[in-house]
Amino acid sequence: MLTIAETAAAAVAPVHDGACVMIGGFGVAGQPVELIDALIDNGATDLTVVSNNAGNGDVGLATLIQLGRVRKIICSFPRQSDSWHFDEKYRAGQIELEVVPQGNLAERIRAAGAGIGAFFTPTGYGTPLAEGKEVRKLDGRHQVLEYSIHADFSLTKALRADRVGNLVYRKTARNFGPVMAAAATHSIVQVDEVVERGALDPEAVVTPGIYVDTVVRVDHPRQQDSREEGAA
């Protein structure tokens, strides 16, 4: 049943030490900045983070890593020009890294929400990222076995929620939001606006409310410019 939290702090209060936390966003688009800030304040440590990147500059996820609160990160593109906090921890052996092709990452997250334990897919075959993994030839192609990625919590951002938790997103800020909300036991979503039940077109709902546990309205969400370059 949906909880509409009063503050971002209240929304992330259940996140506990040792939790696996998915964090939405691709670049600045869809990044739940206020929820990440609240997670920094929350104090939970020994976290496993699933996110496309490993943080930029001195803000958000980068800060969480700098503070030593992230034990492991599962992502597709950790290394960027301003990922210095991650780089430092990684080179010091203080953070575990699992690099996953972006499509495998998205699909493994989707699988967790959809009751798929593992799947065979061609991406990564013959590359270092498939080393040691099971391979099978299907439909005439070599395919690699990839496992679902569940999380205890997901922090994502949407444009609008109604009172039963249905969500719509905005443009490319949709990115990982829908699959992460479905893959987490407890999904936490920041939205620009909460509207009445029935105010969203049922044909255009992207994330049905069943996937949403906590919604918090953030009035003037910030967009944290990450100044990334050459990053996918």
Partner: protein, 219 residues
């Protein structure tokens, strides 16, 4: 079996982008990789009816946004603000990669560190022991599209050929590259051979001499 020299000078990235654009069939769905491949979009006109895909969740992506058009919620895979085109659509990351991985894109154009005569591609990792690995969508793109074109300078900064007998850097994809567009020529990769389609600013024989990889003259 003589290979035409199509230009008296090596092509600039812009000129090369135009050559790539001409080879993309009308009506195609295409993903342009970050960096040089992005230039290709400048040479695709409305009459080509090419639809651009960006893996962060959009089909029908338009050009780079300027001024008031800039919207932080509307970016491409390189995180550059872009605009919409009429008939575009949005979808989530898993649906977007499903589109790519399911073989629905006609073509993707990628940069590369190395391509070998088996069509193997290395473009994500230099293999240096201290490098932090970061792959992004490169492997999905290389493997997912119906055709993978590579667009790169033929030689690395220290003059080595990036077309090789066998990739020495960590692979991005196996046997996935079908064509290689470079400043010095266009190469078709087929059946374990690198066929030279045309050269730019250099003759075929001279190119053969310069490169430490077996080339085959094309039609």
């Amino acid at each position: 079996m003589s290979v035409p020299q199509s230009s008296d000078h090596p092509l600039s990235p812009e000129e090369l982008a135009e050559v790539v654009a001409r080879d993309i069939p009308a009506g195609a769905y295409v993903n342009l990789g970050i960096g040089q491949p992005t230039l290709v979009s400048n040479y695709l006109g409305p009459e080509d009816d090419v639809t651009l895909h960006t893996e962060n969740g959009m089909l029908g992506m338009g050009g780079e946004a300027h001024g008031d058009e800039v919207d932080p919620d509307l970016i491409n895979a390189g995180k550059i603000p872009v605009v919409e085109t009429e008939g575009c659509s949005y979808f989530h990351h898993a649906d977007s990669f499903a589109m790519m991985r399911g073989g629905h894109l006609d073509c993707c154009v990628l940069g590369a560190f190395q391509v070998d005569r088996h069509g193997n591609l290395a473009n994500w990792h230099t293999g240096k022991p201290d490098a932090i690995p970061a792959v992004g969508g490169a492997m999905d793109l290389a493997t997912g599209a119906k055709q993978t074109f590579v667009m790169m300078t033929l030689k690395s900064k220290n003059g080595q050929s990036k077309l090789v007998e066998r990739c020495t850097m960590p692979l991005t994809g196996v046997g996935c590259v079908s064509r290689v567009y470079t400043d010095l020529g266009v190469f078709v990769v087929e059946g374990g051979r690198i066929v030279v389609r045309e050269t730019f600013g250099v003759g075929y024989d001279e190119l053969v001499e310069q490169l430490d990889v077996t080339l085959t003259p094309g039609r």
